[in-house]
């Protein structure tokens, strides 16, 4: 009798479970869209904090289009002013005004020094670079284990904790293929930027490779904006700052 009830309950619930179970890949894509619109401009402040509390700040103007085009130009400090960075798929370049021509860079190098590397600054969607290896559905959070789709990605594996309600990241651990922790990102201070963009405005990073150091990325003036594809070419790198209004 009990067995029959159990079978009936499972038979009734199973379709519902199948219908309402979240697809991990689709969830990750939603997290991506909640973090950043498909095409936008924004300002970012990068702050490197030293063990004694002293800081060095960088101000960037960033633009993005679609899932493979990101560019940014440094507005300060004076030594870095007008340096620009471009990512086109797996290709990355750095343009230094004095050098006068873009040079290829890699995701693991750092244009700013400190904990943030080029991949952190020129990040594209998680779902574009990673596939979901596993998703744990716990109270209040999803825990994604992500595996890099290609070798060109900066971190082989990510463990991403996301808030279920807002579908926004809370914490990300970046790891090597061997499982060694490279850095941890903490997403903080969710802010309404208008036009339906509500996301953490601060990302803090620490790394066992830089003991005592901390890097912080602060977001401001995120605005949906369309750009022509030609903006994301090495010929345009010296002109990215001209897009500011």
């Amino acid at each position: 009798m009990i067995q029959r009830y159990a079978i009936t309950i499972i038979a009734v619930l199973l379709p519902a479970i199948l219908i309402f179970a979240e697809d991990p890949a689709a969830l990750l894509q939603k997290i991506d869209r909640n973090l950043e619109p498909d095409s936008y401009e924004m300002y970012r402040k990068l702050i490197n904090v030293e063990p004694d509390g002293k800081k060095k700040e960088f101000l960037l103007y960033m633009v993005r289009k679609g899932n493979d085009k990101v560019a940014g130009v440094f507005l300060s400090p004076p030594a870095d002013k007008d340096r620009s960075m471009l990512r086109l798929g797996d290709n990355m370049w750095l343009y230094i005004p004095n050098v006068g021509k873009p040079v290829r860079i890699t995701s693991l190098q750092s244009a700013t020094g400190g904990v943030f590397n080029n991949a952190d600054i020129l990040r594209i969607d998680f779902s574009a670079e990673y596939e979901v290896a596993q998703m744990l559905d716990t109270a209040g959070t999803y825990l994604f284990t992500l595996k890099a789709r290609t070798r060109s990605v900066a971190y082989d594996r990510l463990r991403l904790w996301a808030a279920k309600k807002e579908l926004l990241p809370i914490k990300i651990e970046c790891m090597t293929e061997a499982g060694m922790l490279i850095k941890t990102l903490y997403f903080k201070e969710t802010k309404d930027f208008g036009a339906g963009i509500k996301r953490p405005s601060v990302i803090e990073t620490d790394s066992p490779l830089y003991k005592g150091y901390k890097s912080i990325m602060v977001y401001a003036k995120i605005k949906r904006k369309k750009f022509s594809d030609e903006v994301f070419s090495i010929n345009y790198m010296s002109k990215i700052g001209e897009l500011r209004e």
Binding site: Y43, K45, N48, E50, G53, K54, K55, K56, E57, L59, Y61, L75, S76, P77, P78, A79, K81, L88, G89, D90, N91, I96, N98, V99, G100, K101, R104, T106, S107, L108, Q109, S110, G113, G114, R151, S152, A154, E189, S201, V202, Y210, K211, Y213, I216, V218, A220, K221, F227, S228, D229, E230, V231, F232, S233, I234, N235, Y236, K239, E242, R244
Partner: protein, 386 residues
């Protein structure tokens, strides 16, 4: 040696202290808020920047070189100390599609024991550009065309200037030209195609030295991002019916490993050719290695022979963030002479940068680098930026 050396060190220290006081101390921030400086984000139509750089240096002469014999004869002058200053400034004005920009330098140097004082004023760039759309722009004025993928040498830079191998990133003077640029992006294997064409007249002091007087040259560059590879095809022609063609490429074999190459030749019988084959590798221990093989022609800063350029740099050693030590060498493969350097840059401060550099030139007294006037050089650079 000792007296001169310690005098140089003392001078460097005094200059650095005077120069940096107030600027360095004002850099440290203690507030812990994440607010933005809104005015810093607002775009101003006119933007200006400036820097002042001081660099005392000490040179130990190569007393076996024929240049030394010419300059000093039988005198026993072993060392020379120099005190250099450079003030660079730039201004940029933008209103909608129109941009006007200018950058220049004032430099001065005092050399002992010859007690010679030199001055120079130079306009790096000065041009107006009209960009009605991101895909198209026209430019008129003085501009530097830095073409090519090589770090030390660029055979395809048909309107470029020779680089200072001890300061590869230093600003260089451009040429007066009229230029048009067209960019097109695509979906697929060919992601970008861009075309740049420029005309360079030589008349009187305009572009003096680029060609004989009252001539003009045309240069063209076609750029393609094809299959994740940067490819440039470059052409040159002038009013004397001299023609040159070149091609270069740069590609990442893996995220850590980049390869590049350049080839250029004159289009005539008995053509002279120049080439660069190079690679850059980021090792797992965060050291970047650059190696280039150069085949140079008669033009530029190299002799008609083959060279090897090597460089290794390692940012943030021992987690000292903003410190980058590096070592480099250019070797003349033919005669075995070389110029090598070791330097350390420190960029911790918002408005200040420091570079310490040691250079050695070695080789047979008849060789390219062994015959130079200097044998050892030490310099210390302090740069303030505003």
């Amino acid at each position: 040696m000792n007296r001169d050396f310690w005098r140089l060190i003392a001078t460097c220290g005094a200059l650095a202290c005077t120069f940096t006081s107030g600027i360095v101390s004002g850099d440290t921030l203690t507030s812990d808020d994440y607010s933005f400086d809104i005015p810093a984000m607002e775009k101003k139509p006119l933007e200006m920047a400036a820097s002042i750089e001081l660099w005392p240096s000490l040179i130990q002469y190569n007393q076996q070189s024929s240049i030394y014999a010419l300059k000093y004869g039988q005198d026993n002058v072993r060392y020379s100390d120099a005190y250099n200053m450079k003030a660079e400034g730039s201004a940029r004005f933008q209103r909608t599609a129109l941009l006007a920009t200018a950058a220049g330098v004032l430099s001065s140097g005092y050399v002992r024991p010859s007690a010679s004082l030199t001055h120079d004023a130079r306009l790096y760039e000065c041009y107006a550009k009209y960009s009605p759309a991101p895909a198209f722009s026209v430019m008129g004025g003085k501009k530097l065309f830095k073409w090519g993928k090589g770090y030390a040498f660029n055979p395809v830079a048909f309107a470029g200037r020779p680089k200072d191998l001890n300061d590869i990133d230093a600003s260089l003077e451009g040429y007066w030209a009229a230029e048009a640029e067209f960019i097109r992006s695509y979906d697929g294997s060919l992601a970008t195609a861009a075309f740049t064409g420029a005309a360079l007249p030589v008349y009187g002091q305009i572009n003096e030295g680029y060609l004989p007087d009252k001539n003009f040259a045309g240069i063209m560059q076609a750029y393609f991002l094809l299959l994740n590879t940067d490819i440039d095809v470059c052409l040159y022609g002038d009013s004397r019916s001299a023609y040159r063609a070149g091609v270069d490429f740069s590609r990442n074999i893996s995220p850590e490993w980049e390869v590049h190459g350049e080839y250029a030749r004159t289009l005539k019988e008995g053509a002279e050719w120049e080439a660069v084959a190079g690679t850059r590798y980021l090792a797992s221990f965060n050291t970047t290695f650059i190696m280039e093989y150069l085949h140079a022609g008669e033009s530029g800063q190299f002799s008609r022979t083959n060279y090897l350029y090597l460089k290794a740099s390692h940012p943030d050693p021992f987690t000292i963030v903003y410190l980058t030590p590096s070592a480099y060498a250019i070797v003349n493969i033919q005669d075995g002479s070389l110029m090598a350097g070791a330097e350390a840059t420190y960029t911790r401060f918002r408005h200040m940068g420091f570079t310490a550099r040691y250079i050695i030139l070695a080789g047979d007294v008849e060789s390219e680098y062994g015959s130079k006037l200097a044998k050892h050089k030490v310099e210390f650079r302090v740069k303030a930026m505003f």
